[in-house]
Subunit: 438 residues, 2 copies
Amino acid sequence: MARTVFPAEVEELRRSWPTMSRSERVAAFHSLPRAVADDFFLELSSREQAELVVSLPEGERRLWVRLLPPDDVADLIQEAPEEAREGLLNLLGPVTRREVNALLAYEEDAAGGLMNPRFARLRPDMSVDEAISYLRRQSDEVETIYYAYVLAPDQRLLGVLSFRDLFAAARNATVRDLMRTDFVAVPDAMDQEALANLFAKLRLLAIPVVDASSRMEGIVTVDDIVQVVEEEASEDIQKIGGMEALEAPYLEIGFWRMARKRGGWLALLFLGEMLTAAAMSRFEYQIAHAVVLALFVPLIISSGGNSGSQAATLVIRAMAVGEIGLRDWWRVMRRELGAGLVLGGFLALIGAARILIWGAATAAYGGYAGAMALTISLSLIAVVLFGTAAGSMLPFLLRRVGVDPATASTPFIATLVDVSGVLIYFTIAGILLAGRLL
Amino acid sequence: MARTVFPAEVEELRRSWPTMSRSERVAAFHSLPRAVADDFFLELSSREQAELVVSLPEGERRLWVRLLPPDDVADLIQEAPEEAREGLLNLLGPVTRREVNALLAYEEDAAGGLMNPRFARLRPDMSVDEAISYLRRQSDEVETIYYAYVLAPDQRLLGVLSFRDLFAAARNATVRDLMRTDFVAVPDAMDQEALANLFAKLRLLAIPVVDASSRMEGIVTVDDIVQVVEEEASEDIQKIGGMEALEAPYLEIGFWRMARKRGGWLALLFLGEMLTAAAMSRFEYQIAHAVVLALFVPLIISSGGNSGSQAATLVIRAMAVGEIGLRDWWRVMRRELGAGLVLGGFLALIGAARILIWGAATAAYGGYAGAMALTISLSLIAVVLFGTAAGSMLPFLLRRVGVDPATASTPFIATLVDVSGVLIYFTIAGILLAGRLL
């Protein structure tokens, strides 16, 4: 369990690994003593393992691929280039190859793709002593002996038993007496995000995965889930930040791949934002007449974008961790309309105070400071209200049509609100300032 | 390990729990059969447990508080109102009270605050048989028997041993022969985010916590870490979205508490955005002269904000999961300057094409479409470059001065870039369009 602490120079190698070329990596890896090389290899990410293995001479590959349990081999193969996969599969023994092939059939981000097919199994009619010595024999082959799964002859999962319960039980008891039948099991197609939320909520160490007929297929252990939770959060954060998820560490991903993942969204947002120019051009006459109106455009539209970003972020995250579902949309809407009124009102007060004080001090606004203050205040309330409503509902809408809610990124909401904000602002100004500034 | 699957009506109670009043909760809780009530109570979050316990009649509290292991009691007491804490502590037995008091001395988000002081301990001179039967006796009192910690008489941690290794070993071996001495241990003050990254990286099930003299204090287990990772990611996401972290589920937090956590940042951003009005007012003459300039303001400044948001999000997340540290700032800066040039150039092409086509089609821009296209293109490159540089460096700066990098929220970056973007844009326009449109 406790991972080897590498000597300082090996830790340094691990740190600089991502920045090294393939041939540098092979040379450095060959220079490690065998025992250290084993641990070092196990410590690499699946992508790094795949890159290293395909860089090694063909004769050496088998050794390293066979060092890994089947779920990790499957991950490695998924990370390897298309043309190398068949060759890597052929390095495995027949049993492992069959297991890995079964795992490769699952989506990488489903429970089936995360599970280890090697789990400790027991029969219900075994005695405690038989069970303990049977687990002892399985010990080398399974992911954990601390949880044992009781199977019917047709592989249906009947019950779950912790080693600890077994250990504390009377010797003449049978597995059937001791096993818990009120266990949680998940279908192999369950999405890894939902699975991670289950682990977080129930604080389990392992969850069995079953097929549609309740036949046991494997277990997912919590140590794999910590990484899943971090990866899912990274994806959400990057999407919220207005780009495609990188799906690789920032310093490891190639420059042009990163630029593509950012450029696509930037260009889309740019096209969207062009509509603000179009919207404003409809009010060119008013702007020419009262330039002061133009000065407040960024202030007003950004307030809507900011409050919308807050609302979208809250809703996206609450959805991701399973706090709210589609059915909660109306509760959220009510809450956000309330928040929009309060927050918009708050900004309206600050904005009005600023204009009235400035107007009195400098005689800007041509004597119409009052009307201008009212225009700005009402616009702020309307734009913030629109922002919170749009920001909170868009994630629901996206999820409803099957798109990841995190796609409602903060820049996306901001752009949406910018265009609408320009229209709201100039419309209110047109009404309130007609015959005065306009 | 496997959590009880509640009957449907209890699952429904669990779901509606957050929306129920205190008296409704007490009534519903009292109506549960005792065995179900136990599991139901254990399933609640620490905050919910605290609320329920202080709502119960005094005579019933002891039972429920004593149901929990010391680390969970400490969490419950931390969530209870100040004035109730002493009373809750007094419900505990003397040993547990001492343990809980020790845990309460740690920061809630440090390793010491997460650890369980009840771990399985062994002496180095024990034989395998002695060790196994000793673990069997400790089984009821410790968090896990699957990892045992080998201590010197002064409580210094000498080695770590998995039950599995013990189980597979020859009976005449001693603990000293079997234990691993190259284990990972963490100091009790280690931040929970760093601890979670360690769990994710090393895929451990438990990590021992030691004090400054290497004396063993407790263990942190991975099942607690999954929640930590989710909470830390939620906090970061909310900060990136431009507000204070809620620190409670969205539907559970009080309306006014939420409004305060959002209103503070909104007001600050609003004040910041006022500077755009001030900046633009310096160019009132140019705007009055060429209203067309004003139309492009939102387009230009939002492009800077969007690219800055992307950069900040990437850097904040990479820092949070430990991919990059302060020392990497120059590598990141080089990358982001490159990205800014490429992405800005890309947007510049789109913008120039739009203006040239529009100018040719409608004779807008008074015959100066070329100069206008150049102005917009150069401004876009400069603003996007500024956005990526500011967005990527601000998290470093914040971390350097000890502030959470996630404070560099996307709205914050957008506001920063808005103000600078106005200045950049009008300065470039002033130079390129002097004598033409201006």
